[in-house]
Symmetry: C2
Subunit: 380 residues, 2 copies
């Protein structure tokens, strides 16, 4: 573990999209695309690079194969939690389509060549166990995969489900008047890095005026539990509250994924984001270190972030309320914030000047001080 600042080394969105650009020439009458952070050739309405899952119509009675893959490098020190996070991150792409079931998972793993046998035997089974436990929590299981040796540890997987049309929600139905809801706070990348900086005096000195060591540790714990939380509850509630479109927030940050989602809509819509729910103090940390992460600008990478969804205005508060009650009953997991609106526009997303920052306290302190906070009244 301890891969340092790897989280900053992801391929820039522009470079990835450039790589993909060469692949969009149709082949044999079908749109075929190469790999990317999240991209797909959708069935039904043609969807472009940026969709969370592939939806493949099958030869068998109206069924579709929906699948997704994701893998990355460890970013928390606890191997078990890292396994859970990796699994939650893979499943999240299904959940973003309102799919709550998964028929099978494969695990993708690389063992670091720098690990000795003892470390390998201690760390890797924990990571696999975490992955497997999260899969079980998601009602599925891991029945295959691939392991190689690599300079860095890699962990990820594949999630696949065969489902009927009513089981998934194509992410292209947003209409003006909808409300934008986000189901996890932002700031996981900032929290993970701030935690690493506890041991790097030069870095630490830049942020120590705005945060204590204890608060960094709490933010890191909060980020870790948030990343390990499945978006499954939110996926189920998408059907109940008639979500029009959704995506999950990961490597391209809130604004990157909001833009992807906006670009796929059938209607001429634009997304306007007014509120940013952020893990407590992470906005201040991001600012103190010279905006290294662009957290407030919406492009700070998240790992296993929340679902960003477009809900009918009259459903949004009820959705948030039900997410909150599920959060309380499950011991503090989950939440939802109304963060913006859908208006008529050119299929882009933007964050307003000076958005309202919603400080989301660590769950330990949440029940005491701010139990009602995750549901923001739609002051937009």
């Amino acid at each position: 573990m301890g891969v340092g600042e790897m989280v900053l080394q992801e391929v820039p969105q522009a470079a990835l999209l450039k790589l993909l650009a060469g692949l969009e020439s149709p082949s044999a009458g079908e749109a075929v695309r190469g790999p990317g952070e999240e991209e797909c050739d959708g069935s039904g309405p043609k969807l472009g690079v940026g969709m969370d899952c592939c939806v493949i119509p099958l030869r068998h009675g109206g069924l579709s194969l929906v699948q997704t893959t994701d893998f990355f490098y460890p970013l928390v020190e606890d191997p078990y939690m890292m396994g859970r996070i990796a699994c939650a991150n893979v499943l999240s792409d299904l959940y973003a389509m309102g799919i709550t079931e998964c028929d099978n998972m494969l695990m993708l793993l690389s063992v670091s060549q720098k690990m000795n046998e003892k470390d390998r035997e201690r760390v890797m089974p924990l990571m696999i166990e975490g992955f497997r436990d999260a899969a079980e929590e998601g009602g599925t299981s891991v029945t295959g995969g691939q392991t190689v040796v690599n300079p860095w540890i890699i962990v990820g997987g594949v999630a696949s489900v065969v489902c009927q049309p009513n089981e998934f929600i194509m992410p292209d139905g947003a209409v003006p008047g909808d409300v934008l809801v986000l189901t996890k706070p932002l700031g996981t990348q900032v929290a993970v890095n701030a935690h690493q900086w506890l041991d790097q005096p030069e870095r630490w000195n830049k942020i120590k005026l705005v945060i204590s060591k204890e608060e960094v540790k709490e933010a890191y714990q909060e980020a870790m539990f948030s990343m390990a939380t499945l978006n499954r509850t939110a996926a189920g509630l998408m059907h109940k509250f008639q979500a029009h479109a959704a995506t999950d927030v990961t490597g391209f940050g809130l604004l990157g994924h909001a833009n992807n989602l906006a670009s796929q809509q059938k209607s001429d819509v634009a997304f306007v984001i007014h509120n940013l729910p952020i893990i407590a103090k992470m906005a201040a940390v991001s600012k103190a270190c010279g905006n290294l992460f662009n957290l407030i600008q919406g492009t700070s990478a998240e790992t296993s972030g929340g679902l960003l969804m477009c809900l009918p205005r009259e459903q949004a508060a009820k959705f948030c309320s039900e997410m909150k009650s599920q959060r309380v009953s499950s011991g503090g997991q989950g939440g939802a914030w109304i963060i913006g609106i859908v208006e008529k526009g050119d299929r882009r997303a933007r964050i307003i000047d000076k958005p309202r920052i919603i400080e989301v306290p660590p769950r330990g302190s949440q029940s005491a001080s701010q139990d009602g906070s995750p549901v923001t009244s739609p002051n937009i």
Copy 2:
């Protein structure tokens, strides 16, 4: 590219199986397993670690989801061919179950952090194109994936198909009296390494007495084309000639995979291998460098190797003959050799003392000198 001797750095089979061992505890009444070179929780008869695909019974009318994943590091210098090889290698796991169709592929890719932008833009699209072309040849397409940055280039994918029970052949039906057939020659690892040694005088000096530089280049070309050849024809013929079980030969070598296959059989059988079809001169090279690869011992790793199958004795020669005719009609691709027998035994495989080496000439020279050679009379 040019990842040097990475092919020698694969995780040893024992270490991988050890990693997997901790994962075999049943969970919630189901056998759940972690990742590995090829491992699975089979439907129907319970199959163990070592199976090529996962077979997941679905909620929908008797259908099963069959899927597999594989990824590794480049081992040939031509990015386009490397993409083809990676795709052929992934699909091969479906083909080993007699499945000829694939509903969807995902591509797994990492860009090397050591590549500059220019190299990245030159190399990666070629690799993706090769992968996509091979997928198209397999009647499928690539509609998703994931790309990250890594010290080494990684290329691989996921292949999934939803099929009816008659579309796949569970690899557990071998009976005494069956004949073992292999559909590609062995020696890809030796050929790839010998080709790298052309630029390493110390290594080259060890093998130059048994092979010329020209022959090394020919063997390398042969290995490259062989690895890029889909096992799809063989998969189709498994049904026509009633194959009882099959696997594909990859990282654990012929004997490793033969042992895996033998261990899964319902009947008390053993596999005895008499003949080793090997890319011309590679047996001599392996011997000259001090048996570094254990090629004759059957444990030299192969990449995207042939199918090893158990056929009824009366069908084997016909299968080989039809594979040969397809080879000629498709310009030199494909082949099949009878390599051994299935007898009563303890579910293991072995190679006899002093097996017969079948020197498989490069395809350029094949039509002239040895057109009939791929079909070996069953002198066993």
